[in-house]
């Protein structure tokens, strides 16, 4: 049983570990090193500047903007997606007619689930390009065209969507329009997830609640929601990370990839711009390190929140 054990372990681990070190770990290390230099790409010379890049980062107006836009997505995307997904999953599983013992799905709930899942399969890039056609700023666009036909908006004042920087509730309109796309794309998946979790809750719990005279809504709020806590927190973690990475939407849809007038700048767009449009490699790496620290803090926070006692059934 012992023979060849060491050789086997090395043989199985060598390739994955080498690949991972070469393409993932080494670039991380290099990035951290570059972030202390003022390297500008066109020469191999990497002058060491210490913490200069980090000091500059805190004074950079655009970076501050990007940070708050990231925070906006980080809060708004999970909250709105989870709320809508829970609501739809509730309707899907509890909205059925008759038999009030336990949850009873509406008729055709599996068809709804199949349809709601569609956007999840499209890449964010494809979703962005599809929505470009919806968000066109003239009557050619689906939304503007429909609204004009219904006389909700006049022909001379079409909605400007992603080229609209005017703030709404303190956040540029363009970000709200991007948020809408994110919700469109994400809700179906989380609804299917919550729905599966709801169905795994044993029926007798509901029967007990109903015998106690609880209404549907009450049993949802008092029984279902607490039992879904694990699933919801997992969804929150995932949506948090997805929200940090909405670069595809910004890249494809917004004017000058972060515009108009920097109204949709996020960390990723700042990193990409500094590195590959201005050749400020060192500064871009410092930004990336800052983003990573932010992401790690977020992950640590989420792990703390999730790691409370689980309910087993």
């Amino acid at each position: 049983m012992r023979h060849g054990r060491a050789r086997f372990i090395t043989g199985f681990l060598a390739l994955p570990v080498v690949l991972y070190l070469y393409y993932v770990v080494a670039p991380f290390g290099q990035s951290v090193y570059f972030s202390f230099t003022s390297w500008r790409g066109f020469s191999d010379e990497k002058p060491f500047v210490g913490l200069d890049n980090y000091v500059r980062l805190f004074r950079d107006e655009l970076v501050r903007k990007a940070f708050w836009h990231n925070v906006f997505f980080l809060v708004a995307v999970p909250v709105s997606t989870i709320a809508l997904a829970l609501f739809l999953a509730f309707l899907l599983n509890v909205g059925g007619q008759g038999n009030r013992a336990g949850i009873r799905g509406v008729r055709g709930s599996s068809v709804y689930k199949v349809i709601f899942f569609f956007p999840q399969l499209l890449s964010l890039v494809l979703v962005a390009i599809l929505w470009q056609a919806l968000y066109r700023g003239d009557d050619q666009g689906l939304i503007n065209g429909l609204l004009m036909k219904l006389h909700v908006i006049s022909r001379d004042e079409p909605l400007k969507f992603v080229s609209d920087p005017t703030p709404f509730l303190g956040v540029p309109a363009v970000l709200w329009w991007l948020l809408l796309i994110a919700i469109w794309g994400g809700t179906g998946f989380y609804m299917v997830l919550f729905s599966a979790a709801m169905q795994s809750i044993p029926r007798d719990i509901y029967e007990a609640a109903l015998l106690d005279g609880a209404s549907r809504v009450a049993s949802f709020v008092r029984v279902t929601l607490p039992l879904l806590r694990d699933t919801v927190s997992v969804a929150w973690v995932y949506l948090g990370f997805i929200a940090l990475d909405f670069y595809a939407l910004v890249f494809v849809m917004t004017p000058s990839q972060g515009g108009p007038n920097h109204a949709s700048e996020i960390f990723a767009s700042q990193i990409n711009f500094n590195a590959f449009n201005s050749g400020r490699y060192g500064y871009a790496c410092a930004l990336a390190v800052a983003l990573t620290i932010f992401a790690l803090l977020l992950a640590a926070l989420q792990l703390r929140v999730i790691r409370r006692d689980r309910i087993e059934f």
Binding site: Y20, F28, L88, S123, L124, L126, W184, L210, I271
Partner: protein
């Protein structure tokens, strides 16, 4: 308590001797039932329409000609079926070659990810040795790190790779320089092999994490029996453990297919020709370029055809395997 009662419900109701609602209250309950059911359907239908309508609109617009798209942008019915839009998107738009590139890269990428990922996960989950925990946590540490942290080094490194590899092998006498100039381009920019390796490396964290927990749950007795019967470690893995891990492999496989199919930033960064050769773009990257160029050519029907062509295969595969896809994706995130 309502018109239809299950035997179980009835029994439960009797044994618990729950207070029976009065007749009026009962009628009231049935009333809210119907109302609630209708209310649910309305909302669900509205959301279904919101999801499907844009996609159907884009798909049907791809059959119109440019003139109709401009005159009646909202209409769903094309005057005549312009199949030539698809031909144009496929050949002139380059979607054909995008598809080939994507299929090759994602096929190779997912296969190698699954193989290497489950090999590493298996060894880390079931063998104790010095450094096991360290390697496992190194893989795990990559999970929350955004890809942008690696952007600059990956870009720079990939463009330098061919030269460095040629130098490295050049030091070996006689055959060295020819080996170097043979391998170099495969690991340089605009190479499918390079993109596959990058995809694999970046997918390993999650695959190892997921499969690790899966291999942990498999019973040890079967493994011991196989070893007693004289199976080697690698035979035990490929012949016994890997087949037993099939449900896990399917989940993580679907997850990786979708993840790598949708990847756009890595190709955008790395699939750029350094010389004059043709750009080997994947679908996501190619569509971005098409939609950016759209401003100049305004071939709207071709654009819609491109969107439809990119959308359809995924949706068709999904409709065929929808149960597995739904289950696989939800399982891979709740693990």
């Amino acid at each position: 308590m309502s018109t239809v009662t299950t035997p179980a419900g009835e029994r439960a109701a009797r044994t618990a001797a729950a207070p029976q609602p009065t007749r009026r209250a009962r009628r009231h309950l049935i009333g809210t039932d119907t109302f609630f059911n209708g209310f649910s359907h309305v909302f669900l239908l509205v959301w279904a329409v919101l999801v499907v309508y844009p996609m159907v609109w884009a798909a049907l617009s791809s059959f119109k000609d440019d003139a109709q798209i401009i005159r009646e942008p909202l209409s769903l019915i094309p005057h005549s079926l312009h199949w030539d839009n698809f031909a144009r998107a496929w050949t002139k738009g380059g979607l054909g070659s995008f598809f080939v590139n994507t299929v090759l890269v994602v096929g190779g990428g997912v296969f190698c990810t699954m193989l290497l990922g489950s090999m590493a996960a298996y060894v880390l989950a079931r063998y104790e040795f010095f450094g096991n925990r360290f390697i496992y946590y190194t893989f795990l540490a990559g999970l929350p790190v955004p890809i942008y942290l690696a952007a600059v080094p990956l870009y720079v490194g990939t463009f330098k790779a061919p030269g460095q590899i040629a130098d490295f092998f050049g030091r070996i006498p006689v055959v060295g320089s020819s080996i170097g100039s043979f391998i170099g381009p495969y690991l340089g920019p605009n190479s499918r092999v390079m993109l596959i390796l990058v995809y694999v490396a970046w997918s390993l964290s999650f695959t190892v994490f997921f499969m690790h927990s899966f291999f942990r749950t498999l019973p040890t007795t079967i493994a011991e029996a196989a070893l007693v019967d004289g199976a080697s470690h690698s035979r035990l893995f490929f012949g016994v453990m890997l087949p037993m891990a099939r449900p896990g492999l399917i989940s993580i496989g679907i997850f990786n297919v979708i993840g790598q199919w949708n990847q756009w930033y890595l190709p955008y960064l790395l699939m750029q020709p350094s010389g004059g050769e043709e750009k080997k773009q994947v679908i996501a990257q190619g569509l971005i370029n098409l939609s950016v160029n759209q401003g100049y050519k305004s071939d709207w029907s071709g654009m819609f055809a491109g969107i439809t062509l990119a959308m359809l295969p995924v949706l068709v595969v999904y409709l065929v395997f929808q149960r597995q896809v739904q289950a696989g994706l939800t399982a891979s995130i709740t693990k």
